[in-house]
Symmetry: C2
Subunit: 457 residues, 2 copies
């Protein structure tokens, strides 16, 4: 049964919810092949969130450029007995031919704002919905979590150590990517470092220490292997004793014309231990040796350590960041807003959202600070407003070159500087002002009326 | 920069933390190539958890059988300037040659019990640690979450609808897999259905309804496409009005010799709506039409609905289950317990665990019910105790055929029946008794003493 590796094939056509395909069957039978627009947004902020960082778009565009159904996939679909031969024939030739507009990765956006809109023949748009939400939802969550960590620890270096706690292979790679977009310096994941061009980072595990007869022997063996980049892990047996044992190793490195880079704390009370270890190092003349802390850290812990003045230079964040532990999901939705030129919407309780393709305009004060955003109809003009959704795909092809991760990282830094600090608070931030344009509000009322009258059957 | 698809290559050698490779360099330089044993366990229960379901082993074995470093990976490692040519040469030939013992997938295990032990030359064992934790940690969490859902809704059908909220592609596939092991009936993810042989399930989205001028037209179009398997989504505009509109469509299906399978609620107060919809259906002579509910459901909500007698036949679970929202991470650790025949351990505060390779023995009463587990040294004998860790890999190859997902599902059912119900409680379950054998306790004290004396340098 299972495949040889825990990874899906290049053919991602089947990576979709069954209902996308059953709806495709019904659309096909009805001859409904007209263009549809789907709008992707997050309705509500997860707890303590005041902004979102756009992330995941490049993966969506890669997917759309490669969307297809292999013969094996078509055989599987045939074997279910659910689909007609003519639909399978249609799927065998299906490629994504539509267009995409999106808020570029790294930019800030807010609740209810469309971050991505797809316009394509309805079957293509509907089929791709599952993958689009799957990628955008969690990458936005991870990038936003990482942004909160960087905000909490200004001037400190943060590295992604989350691979072992993320939910699988894809999540580990994307955590590294999203962390870097939002300001992390490096990742422990070597595959992510290779694929995304992120600096790799790493020290040693407790197993390295315990594999030697004594901690001192382990320290010396590591320093011998990496005289230029040694970081010693102190807490395998006792952090303070570990610090005392690190001192002679650092002195031996000095004697060889090298320098111990850092020591690492991985358990215990970091506020207290970092001060005690700093004192031991300083009194030994090792002021240049940095202190790295890792283990159970998130933005709340970082803020508390940094505000408390803990002498920690580098933070390795893992578990709680890699799963966005306090907000592991959002209510991101991908709604049909136009079919065949007709604006549409649903009215489910608590799930009403305006119809029609949209644009988000951002207004700033004279210094560039964000004032508010306006969600408008796509074809509106709003003098002085910056259009956030940009065309990124047309006719199933990217409209421009792929941005580098460093460009996304710069975009984030630029946007983040212009957002008022109180929206960045880690607890209960006030809502950034987002309103609908009068024209969009009128359209919403109009469509609600049309739905009511259509059902007077 | 980024690769064409959001998936890693077949070559997973680089899917590891950098420190696994820097430690490999140091081990290599020290000539430390002796066998090591690593032991994988979860130290503490996440909130409200009283048991764990073993999951992820087949992915680990696939990985170990395929572990290698491609020329491109070696080129990347060389480009970092961190590694010596002779280590890269060693890595170019590296294959996993070790052995694995594990608690089979689907079986229950408890905190502090080793669920998997790897014995291999230390570099091979160390390198594979990252992937092993990455897969086992989240698959155990997802399988355990799914088991809780099934327990909360006895006799009801549960389907995995989580793909859009899981953390990426790998997580979506594994959610489907873990759900099925723990008793779900189906998955919405078509790729997972194909790969794992799980029944696919799906209905229709709100976008299907809104793409038609009226809800009734949408219902009829779907029924025309799938006369034998129609499920109508009721809440796009108003659930009760939707139910009234479903009745004539069901009657038309009856007239054509077919039956409406089910209706689906996706928002609102399910306890109330399910009763009102049930009444509408029953009064129309549609007692056979089932009710499916989806949207924000987890084990707590399922328990409340089922205990309250809500007439819901099928539950689609997504968001909160797919990320194990109340427990998105565990503290699973993979500890070096033996190097070169010498039992080892670390003493970090709160992180002490016994040294040496281990076996877990399970004791039962005369009816087969679990009484308690005993963590012992691997070579101990414990008459009447069932050995939970089984050899699954030797010399880098599986020792037996791959079990099917249905076999894992049966194992889970068998174990789960034998666990006392109070450990299955959704809130604050009491701890299942797990103790260390006297011989393991003696070894632990011995090794602690050795560490203390080794450091009297």
């Amino acid at each position: 049964m299972p495949p040889p590796l825990p990874l899906p094939p290049d053919d991602l056509g089947l990576f979709t919810d069954l209902y996308e395909l059953t709806m495709a069957q019904a659309f096909y039978q009805q001859g409904m092949l007209a263009p549809a627009t789907f709008s992707l947004f997050i309705r509500n902020y997860p707890p303590d969130r005041g902004y979102f960082v756009s992330a995941g778009l490049e993966d969506v565009l890669d997917y759309l450029e490669n969307l297809r159904f292999s013969p094996a996939s078509l055989d599987y679909l045939r074997s279910t007995g659910i689909f007609t031969d003519d639909l399978l024939q249609y799927l065998s030739k299906l490629r994504f031919t539509g267009s995409v507009r999106a808020i570029p990765e790294g930019r800030l956006f807010f609740a209810n704002e469309p971050v991505l809109e797809v316009t394509a023949p309805i079957i293509e748009a509907q089929l791709s919905e599952t993958f689009i939400i799957n990628q955008m939802n969690f990458q936005v969550l991870l990038a936003s979590k990482a942004a909160r960590c960087c905000w909490a620890a200004p001037g400190r270096v943060i590295s992604d150590f989350a691979t072992r706690r993320t939910h699988g292979v894809d999540a580990a790679l994307k955590m590294a990517r999203c962390g870097y977009i939002a300001g992390f310096q490096s990742t422990s994941n070597v595959l992510a470092a290779q694929r995304y061009g992120i600096p790799p980072a790493g020290t040693m595990a407790h197993s390295f220490i315990t594999s030697f007869p004594s901690e001192s022997e382990a320290f010396r063996a590591y320093a011998a292997a990496f005289p230029g980049r040694t970081v010693l892990l102190l807490d395998t047996y006792d952090t303070i004793e570990g610090a005392w044992r690190a001192v002679p190793v650092a002195k031996e490195l000095e004697a060889a014309g090298r320098r111990l880079l850092a020591v690492r704390l991985d358990s215990g009370d970091f506020a207290d231990l970092s001060r005690r270890v700093r004192r031991i190092l300083d009194e030994a003349g090792l002021e240049y040796v940095q202190i790295l802390a890792s283990g159970g850290l998130d933005e709340f812990e970082l803020e508390s350590l940094v505000k408390g003045g803990a002498p920690i230079d580098i933070f390795g964040v893992g578990t709680k960041v890699g799963v966005s532990a306090d907000a592991p999901y959002s209510d991101m939705a991908d709604k049909l807003v136009v079919y065949d030129g007709r604006p549409v919407m649903k009215l489910s309780p608590g799930k009403v959202s305006p119809p029609g393709a949209k644009q988000v305009f951002r207004l700033r004060d004279e210094s560039g600070k964000f004032l508010r955003d306006i969600i408008a109809r796509e074809d509106e003009r709003l003098p002085g407003g910056e259009r956030l959704l940009e065309p990124v795909m047309a006719g199933g092809r990217r409209t421009g070159p792929q941005p580098t991760l460093d460009e996304m990282r710069s975009r984030f830094q630029q946007d983040f500087q212009q957002l008022d600090d109180h929206h960045k608070r880690l607890r209960n931030p006030p809502r950034y002002p987002v309103v609908a344009s009068p024209s969009l509000e009128r359209l919403t009322l109009q469509v609600q009326d049309q739905i009511a009258s259509a059902e007077q059957e």
